[in-house]
């Protein structure tokens, strides 16, 4: 080994990446396609369902990670998309995905119109350690639409393990009937409705006040913020976080495109 390859001489840029990866992922599991067998479909909202799969060789994951899913047509054509894992880690041999039915969508369309228990698809993962939350730091979670999926994995993990570390969730939906996992939220969650709200609740987008209120709690060790949703929502929410004083190097963003 020459000196230049020694780890302590590794290049570190004059700027430091604001959001270092947290979890080393296993390259071996990330490269492997595995068969996932659909065991159950649960409706969440009129356009969103949760799909439960048996994946016997699943190596486990951390809340916040996603996978790559592949469908293959008879002529060999394949379609692959990324989906966040909705289930918590402690669900041996099983994983759950929650899919929005995208209008005209090739993969989500198959799931919502064709898929039934017993069907098999292929998955590889878990992928990316950077959005993962092992349950160690106070977590400030902000999601919109299906962007709440990886955050729900974190919330479920927090509950199952009865973690003491603070966790807050701000979730945005167009209306109450479009709020995914509505029955599962507790005192840690604030729902924001952008088009139609239940009696007595305001209608409007996620605001500086919502974000500032949570940021101001200042838990010991500081918040690690996780933002997930469409790009437009991610831009909006991350700007509100920065404006509320959340350090940029403690904001992780997963954009669904």
């Amino acid at each position: 080994m020459t000196e230049t390859t020694a780890p302590d001489t590794a290049f570190s840029p004059p700027t430091r990446f604001a959001v270092p990866g947290r979890i080393a992922v296993s390259n071996r599991t990330a490269a492997l396609w595995q068969t996932a067998t659909l065991t159950e479909i649960r409706r969440e909202t009129p356009v969103v369902s949760t799909f439960r799969f048996a994946v016997p060789g699943w190596a486990g994951h951390l809340p916040g990670q996603h996978l790559m899913l592949r469908l293959t047509a008879g002529d060999g054509y394949t379609a692959q998309r990324h989906y966040s894992l909705a289930s918590p880690p402690d669900d041996a041999g099983h994983i759950e995905l929650t899919l929005d039915h995208v209008e005209g969508g090739e993969v989500s369309g198959w799931f919502h119109t064709e898929a039934r228990p017993g069907d098999q698809v292929e998955v590889r993962g878990p992928l990316s350690g950077f959005f993962a939350w092992p349950g160690d730091r106070p977590a400030l979670l902000i999601g919109a639409g299906s962007g709440v999926v990886p955050l729900m994995s974190m919330l479920r993990h927090h509950r199952r393990r009865a973690l003491n570390v603070p966790l807050r969730l701000l979730v945005s939906a167009r209306g109450p009937e479009e709020l995914i996992y509505a029955a599962e939220y507790g005192a840690e969650t604030t729902a924001v409705f952008t088009r139609r709200a239940p009696e007595g609740m305001p209608v409007g987008r996620l605001s500086a006040a919502h974000v500032a209120r949570v940021v101001a709690e200042r838990p010991t060790g500081g918040w690690e913020a996780y933002v997930c949703g469409s790009n437009a929502f991610a831009e909006h929410a991350s700007r509100l976080l920065v404006a509320a004083g959340q350090p940029v190097d403690r904001i992780r963003i997963e954009r669904f495109g």
Partner: protein, 201 residues
Amino acid sequence: MNVTRGFTGRPRVHHPGLPPGQYDAGDDWPVLSAEVTPDLAPADWTFRIDGLVAEPRSWDWDEAHALPASVYEGDIHCVTSWSKFGVRFGGVSLDAFWDAVRPDASATHVVAYAHSGYTTNLPLADLTGGRAWIAWEYDGEPLAAEHGGPARLLVPHLYFWKSAKWIAGLRLLDHDEPGFWEQNGYHARGNPWEEQRYSGD
């Protein structure tokens, strides 16, 4: 082959420019950065090349714009499986920068780093010979901040995570050193035609 029951896929014409496992995103241009979009004005942008070069140096916005203009017209491919055909970026070929700094014969790899701190690694050979650019225009307009404006690296023959947004510099090394996504399980090179998505592909 594991055929998915009932899946036919959307009617398709085979596009010879579409690498395996990719789909045509049409007019969409998804945004997939991990960090807060930096607020970086052209006046504050700088670009530096150092490491194994004869003459390390930096350029500011005006100095970089004084170099000969160069355009990329062609396709781009993101590892999340969308591709975009017939895009047009304006900027400067990296060759113009190489002429100025003169890479050492010992240089084999590059770490590209962004003003946000993002890093990605590339073989030097992928950044020479008119195949890489510093780009600041898209479709004749200034490159939008969420797509890496004021300026990004552009290496269109590799998956797009290699084309570091908000490019701040390149450091030449005599060995390969994984960048941000590469440390997170992504492939060291990322050739879309060989589907080099994850480490191990």
